[in-house]
């Protein structure tokens, strides 16, 4: 493993068995997560982005198995873990997760302070008054006013944004190295969303965390991500630095995701929308999984899975359009505008 890589996925295959059929949720995926970076995994629902990250903390559903590949963390292969005891050395302690819905990730019958206390006792080994002080500090660290008073309150006494702050407090109370945020703001208002993202960003710098965001909304991550990995049908189709993916996207699926954002839409005109539906992963995917929905698909897209083509040292995409022999295609209007915004620096 390279020095600056903290978590490394190597040729990962994840399968689910459903009603006697096998679903290939993740299809031979490799990704390095760098120490201290903030990575955003972007994709539609069902693309496998949550399954992919959950595999790193041993939270796959019971019918899911890692069928191949490795997940390296500190020279340990997490794929070999079998018991809950092994996972508890990683989950929470090293890699913590903030789930989408703060309503369901908190226990409604326990005061929020005690829920944080549980994490403090388990992971920081503190007891009694010292543990309580650490829990109050955790509440203060996530920007909750009057933490001593709020400590004794129940989740229903908090607003949605405040609840999500409590969930984050629990996650960081374990002093993890990596924080996974699974759609941390989808259930929240736009104003609160911006505040929560700011908070996560601030904590990342203060605690030297590595953060992984999972989201379906590319618009949300421009502010917080250093790198972006776009997932489609259980595979990363494009990986690059934030500016590269926004100002010089290369995969037609990334084009489609960006073009369908209402922020870029022109009133009175139709928004770009992706036709068709994602492939059925119960069947083996032939060629490029996005080909049937891709207006720029080449013949070879239906036959052979494209390799990664390197656009720059940090930017790669899995599309035959980048092959030197492929015809030159013009990306849609919105993408050309984005390129101009980037000043052509990344094109």
């Amino acid at each position: 493993m390279k020095e600056n890589v903290i978590l490394s996925f190597e040729d990962l295959d994840i399968r689910f068995s459903l009603r006697g059929q096998v679903l290939n949720a993740i299809r031979g995926v490799s990704l390095d997560v760098y120490r201290g970076e903030s990575l955003a995994i972007v994709g539609e629902s069902g693309s496998g982005k949550s399954v992919f990250t959950k595999s790193a903390i041993g939270l796959l559903d019971a019918n899911g198995t890692i069928a191949g590949g490795h997940i390296w963390y500190n020279d340990k292969d997490l794929v070999t873990f079998r018991t809950e005891k092994e996972w508890l050395t990683i989950r929470g302690k090293e890699i913590a997760m903030v789930m989408q819905d703060p309503m369901t990730s908190l226990n409604p019958l326990i005061p929020v302070g005690d829920q944080i206390l549980e994490a403090v006792v388990l992971h920081q080994g503190l007891r009694g008054a010292a543990a309580k002080r650490a829990a109050v500090e955790a509440l203060r660290a996530v920007g909750i006013q009057e933490p001593e008073r709020r400590y004794k309150q129940y989740p229903h006494e908090f607003s949605g944004g405040m609840r999500q702050r409590v969930v984050i407090a629990i996650a960081i109370a374990c002093r993890p190295k990596i924080l996974i945020c699974d759609e941390p703001t989808t259930a929240l208002d736009v104003t609160i969303q911006a505040q929560i993202l700011d908070l996560i960003k601030e904590l990342q710098q203060k605690l030297e965390l590595t953060t992984i965001y999972i989201t379906h909304d590319l618009g949300v991550v421009a502010n917080v991500a250093d790198r972006i990995a776009v997932m489609y049908a259980g595979d990363f189709v494009e990986v690059g630095r934030c500016e590269e993916v926004f100002y010089d996207p290369r995969h037609p699926y990334t084009w489609a995701l960006l073009s369908s954002l209402p922020q870029l839409g022109v009133k009175g005109e139709n928004l770009y929308s992706i036709r068709g539906t994602p492939p059925n992963l119960f069947y083996a995917v032939k060629g490029d999984a996005f080909a049937p929905r891709n207006p720029w698909a080449l013949k070879i897209d239906y036959l052979k899975r494209p390799p990664y083509f390197q656009v720059s040292e940090t930017h790669k995409a899995r599309t035959w359009l980048l092959d030197p022999r492929a015809p030159k295609v013009d990306p849609p209007e919105h993408i050309r505008q984005l390129r101009e915004k980037g000043g052509g620096r990344y094109a």
Binding site: V190, I192, A222, N223, S260, P262, S273, L338
Partner: protein, 312 residues
């Protein structure tokens, strides 16, 4: 020109309260606006601001505590005749936020879509009903065969289309869409927004579009009203509102819109609205004034002067 436009819905001094009278909570407090025929009127606010309650008061789900709602000049709030009630049911329809919980999971699409018809056309022949369902499904881009399936067999976007078909089969004139795309993926949002604008063009529908995300509301709405804690803060043409946001709350909302542009995003300064900056003494209630044509804002006399300066 706005004077010439036909007012379809008039909301006048609407107040909606919850709870016992002595400790009533004002969810909507003295709200007034008009919706013109054929336009899309956006209502933006955070959760708990009362935006959904306004929608539900218009469609007669929540009783009003004060003020009136008029539809085509006729009062439809409070006690009304049975005919008026039927007319409201028929002409005003609602599309809900969550396409999973708003569809009866134990009923087939056929029943879900045509349930509304049964209440106004008690003796519609079965063949005609089936035909209307098939047409409604086709209008929203679904196959007529889907009528025999259950909601769980559909994706989120398809379910929201069923929700729209259910509203459209009544051939309404006015549709209240309450966060119709918040629960959907970005790529599906685009489809549903496109469908809504296509249907509006075809049938001359009028929409009340309720949402918390200003960027979506801007894309679809002709005019936007911003609501905070049950009170309207600002109302303007969408482009006007984006070009000259006056009220600090509107400016905070605008600053929170995530833009798909890393460079501007990183330079962006997030404004947080502090309601304490707009406290008004009881003997000097805030005004609601039109500072440029069609652009209304709430504030004290002193604030109005400041806002006027901002418009220069």
């Amino acid at each position: 020109m706005p004077e010439k436009r036909e007012k379809l819905v008039e909301v006048q001094n609407l107040t909606v309260t919850f709870g016992p009278r002595r400790r009533a909570f004002k969810a909507v407090d003295d709200v007034s606006f008009d919706i013109y025929k054929g336009e899309t009127f956006g209502l933006v606010g955070e959760s708990g601001s009362g935006k959904t309650t306004i929608g539900r008061a218009i469609i007669r789900v929540n009783p009003v505590a004060g003020g009136v709602v008029k539809y085509r000049g006729e009062v439809i709030s409070g006690r009304v005749s049975r005919e008026t009630d039927q007319r409201v049911i028929r002409n005003i329809q609602m599309v809900f936020q969550d396409p999973i919980s708003s569809l009866n999971e134990r009923a087939k699409v056929d029943y879900i879509v045509s349930e509304g018809l049964a209440s106004i056309h008690k003796h519609m022949p079965e063949a005609e009903r089936k035909e209307r369902v098939a047409k409604a499904l086709q209008d929203v881009g679904l196959l007529p065969e889907f009528a025999s399936r259950f909601p769980h067999e559909f994706s989120g976007g398809q379910r929201q289309r069923i929700g729209i078909a259910r509203a459209l089969i009544m051939e309404p004139e006015f549709v209240i869409a309450d966060e119709p795309i918040s629960a959907l993926d970005v790529s599906i949002r685009a489809q549903v927004l496109n469908l809504m604008s296509a249907l509006q063009k075809e049938r001359g529908l009028t929409y009340l579009f309720i949402a918390h995300d200003l960027s979506v509301v801007r894309f679809i709405s002709d005019r936007i009203a911003v609501i905070y804690q049950g009170k309207l803060m600002e109302l303007a043409d969408s482009e006007q509102l984006f070009a000259h946001p006056l009220h600090p709350y509107t400016r905070a909302l605008l600053s929170a819109i995530p833009m798909p542009d890393p460079v501007t995003e990183r330079k962006k300064k997030l404004l947080v609205y502090d309601p304490a900056q707009n406290k008004y003494p009881a003997n000097d209630p805030p005004l609601w004034e039109e500072l440029e044509p069609g652009h209304f804002v709430r504030g004290s006399q002193r604030e109005m002067d400041e806002y006027r300066k901002m418009l220069l």
